[in-house]
């Protein structure tokens, strides 16, 4: 029994370290995006405390950028609604994660706070199972880099022109591509889901904002409900 507990603790600690290692790459990308966010918030006259506390508490690039840009253009209610809707995918992702969480509702809800896009992909062990220690591990460097990037952006306030010239806009899609390539190697169904997801997002971008397009892309996972994996071929029984 003692050995089992010890081995489980080691496994969990190893998964946490694994997650932190795998989260370092997306973390670097998050730092660049955080820097851009800090610079944009500074340019918008948000001061220093509000953007920094927002990054510490929310750690959500999509929602934070949405609020920053829409608040300047419209009413506070519309801006908050847009920022909330853009993160509606986390509701779907938290349902997906729930079977792999431990404890009662509240404890599970606390564990689910570690959800970030890249961590969701890093923590996926296949067949709909997630390693929560790995999810948390991957989120630690991303959170630190997001907050650090925001702080540096607020202090240094690099121009959007400089960030563009240095190719900073490549960082995020390139890291998502790296994670996608790993996922695609897991099954043919994953390839089908990725192609359908990309198609849905591409189509929806013409008629709605990127947050809704992303939420729509998750519908491609329904391929799993209609397209069943072929069972392994049975060898004919030997007769001689």
């Amino acid at each position: 029994m003692g050995n089992l507990v010890l081995s489980r603790t080691r496994t969990s600690s190893g998964a946490l370290t694994d997650g932190m290692r795998l989260g370092a790459g997306p973390g670097a990308a998050t730092f660049v995006l955080g820097l851009a966010y800090g610079a944009a918030a500074s340019a918008a006259g948000w001061g220093g405390a509000v953007p920094l506390v927002f990054s510490v508490l929310a750690c959500s690039g999509s929602a934070q950028f949405t609020l920053l840009t829409t608040l300047a253009a419209g009413s506070a209610v519309a801006a908050v609604t847009a920022a909330v809707l853009i993160n509606a995918r986390y509701l779907v992702m938290s349902v997906a994660l729930n079977d792999s969480l431990h404890g009662g509702r509240l404890r599970r809800a606390m564990q689910a706070q570690a959800l970030l896009d890249a961590s969701f992909a890093v923590g996926h062990r296949g067949n709909g199972r997630f390693d929560i220690a790995r999810v948390i591990g991957a989120s630690i460097p991303q959170w630190a880099c997001w907050v650090g990037g925001t702080a540096v952006g607020l202090l240094a306030a690099p121009s959007a022109h400089l960030m563009h010239a240095l190719g900073a806009d490549v960082v995020f899609p390139a890291f998502f591509l790296m994670l996608a390539l790993d996922e695609l190697g897991k099954s043919q169904r994953a390839i089908v889901a990725a192609i359908v997801g990309a198609g849905i997002a591409a189509g929806l971008l013409f008629v709605t904002d990127p947050g809704n397009a992303l939420l729509g892309a998750t519908a491609a996972a329904l391929v799993g409900a209609v397209h069943r994996p072929r069972p392994p071929a049975q060898r004919p029984a030997r007769t001689s």
Partner: protein, 101 residues
């Protein structure tokens, strides 16, 4: 004035991440739902790549960025480590922009 929307978005973000566990608790999902969930990551990642490259109404498409991301993907396919592959993509885009200005 800024604090109120910031805290509202933060609270909504927490609530959405807690939504699944709070509603489902320890109930298990049926196998068909698990099949769907196992494909959420590739579908989401593909969508993230598309929206990052396209932006609102496809207004942000930039061919230097697309080539940089492609170069990163090619480097990864050739078994380059993740950070090196992304660095390769950044270098391609930065070089193209430098040459064109």
């Amino acid at each position: 004035m800024l604090w109120l929307p910031v805290l509202a978005v933060t609270a909504a973000n927490w609530a959405m991440k807690a939504g699944g566990p709070l509603v489902l608790g320890q109930r298990r999902l049926p196998p068909r739902a698990v099949n769907v969930i196992s494909l959420m990551a590739p579908a989401l990642l593909a969508g993230l790549i598309v929206i990052n490259l396209g932006g609102t109404s496809w207004s942000d498409v930039n061919w230097q960025q697309v080539l940089g991301v492609g170069a990163a993907g090619l480097a990864r396919t050739l078994r380059a480590p993740m950070l090196l592959a992304v660095g390769c993509g950044i270098a391609v885009t930065a070089l193209l922009r430098h040459l064109l200005t």
